[in-house]
Amino acid sequence: MDEVTVRVTVNGEARAVRVPVGMSLLEMLREVLGLTGTKYGCGAGDCGACTVLLDGKPVNSCLVLAAEVDGHVVTTIEGLGKAGLHPVQEAFVRHGAIQCGFCSPGMIMTAVGFLAENPHPSEAEVRAALAGNLCRCTGYAKIVQAVLEASRQLASLEHRRDAIRGGTP
């Protein structure tokens, strides 16, 4: 099997690693970069536990080759929240949306990517966006509530930021 050098920005840091061409992004993150927050669930793109942001978009990292992210930007769960927790993570904690925690990184990364694209979703839209993330513990209700609340938090943060920028109270 050939090897390839992958130059990729991960969580804001430029990395260059040499990996076998058959290695998935998921394997590269966990085994080469030691970022084990991203989980291996099914390895086939069904469960969403491996979700990361690739150029800001949620993808199943088990279905991306490491070689394919050369020149791209990856964000994992470890890359959220610069000083403390990201609003989505905070909402998950507040709502009890985490039980065993295995699905949580994937759920949160999907939610973060989704809310960036759809900042004011309906409940139905949240459920559709999370349909590719399986949870065996929570029954999803608190996860959905957490994402909806996070959307309101993020919207009000934006509103406050815009208000300050625009000079209006």
Partner: protein, 296 residues
């Protein structure tokens, strides 16, 4: 670890075709959401991947003055969903795109990949068949255009020749017959809300004028070796008022055209029943949207 020996990233279509010729065990990869699973779990052998994503000019999505729509093979399903052109001109395709895979899969999966994977249940197939789509192929012998109806040959098999690449899909504009109103519905039957392969797919597109059907397209998926147009069912509609009796005749004709198999997702009998139900539902739903016999 995927069982792949070589990964190549050509910068042009000609380079990609040359590589696909040079390496007999090679396959093109776009989104990879079907291919990588097939390599790992379905015993598909491929020692060389030729990544198409570095080729410029395959990601376009544009509408022409005559109302026709052109889509590059590398347009992702997510991009189809976000496109106002697709929502307005090809609403059935937008519907189908929203039902493909999951949010994550849709960010990577491509229109070209969905067609070339050639599942009889391929989500984008029925809407495109209903809109008389054509596919543009480029290979060692040059460029050719095929009707999508001629592109699917068997489950998982297309008309692509060795080292040939699907580069784009075109849908002609909807013929503007005077006074005709057009509309349709896409229905997918399956046990889950997402991440599911259809038990039955139905795409219906109708033109109605003067209380009568002037144009009818009915495309069925997952009920035969390839997705197809139910021509007899379409003929049962054209020229007739779209009343319950006519709709039933068409639904029965569609049912008779279906050639489903028993498999792990459903029995052939159930699929035939559901063809009739879903075609009825799609026709009635479309009629409710674009016009009834008494409203003309």
């Amino acid at each position: 670890m995927y069982p792949v020996s070589r990964y190549l990233r050509p910068g042009s279509l000609q380079e990609a075709i040359a590589l696909l010729q040079e390496y007999p065990g090679s396959r093109p990869i776009a989104g990879g959401t079907d291919l990588l699973v097939a390599l790992k779990e379905k015993g598909v052998h491929c020692d060389t991947l030729v990544d198409l994503k570095g080729i410029p000019g395959l990601g376009h999505l544009r509408e022409s003055e005559d109302g026709s729509v052109e889509m590059g093979a590398l347009v992702t399903i997510a991009e189809l969903l976000k496109s106002p052109v697709i929502r307005q001109r090809l609403p059935l395709l937008a519907s189908a795109a929203s039902l493909l895979g999951s949010y994550q899969v849709r960010q990577r999966a491509t229109l070209g990949g969905n067609l070339c994977n050639a599942s009889p249940a391929a989500e984008t197939a029925c809407p495109l068949l209903a809109m008389d789509a054509r596919v543009r192929l480029v290979g060692p012998r040059g460029e050719r255009v095929l009707r999508l109806a001629d592109f699917f040959r068997a489950p998982g098999q297309t008309a692509l020749e060795r080292a040939e690449v699907l580069v784009g899909v075109e849908c002609p504009g909807v013929a503007d017959r005077e006074g005709a109103r057009y509309g349709g519905m896409y229905l997918k039957l399956g046990p889950r809300q997402a991440m599911d392969i259809a038990v039955v797919n139905v795409a219906v597109w109708l033109g109605v004028a003067g209380g009568r059907c002037v144009d009818a397209r009915i495309a069925l998926g997952a009920v035969g070796p390839v997705p197809f147009r139910a021509r007899d069912a379409e003929e049962a509609l054209v020229g007739r008022p779209l009343d319950a009796e006519t709709i039933e005749r068409a639904a029965v004709a569609a049912q008779q055209a279906a050639r489903p198999i028993d498999d792990i997702r459903a029995s052939a009998w159930y699929r035939r029943e559901m063809v009739r139900n879903l075609v009825t539902r799609a026709l009635s739903g479309t009629v409710a949207k674009v016009g009834r016999p008494d409203r003309g």
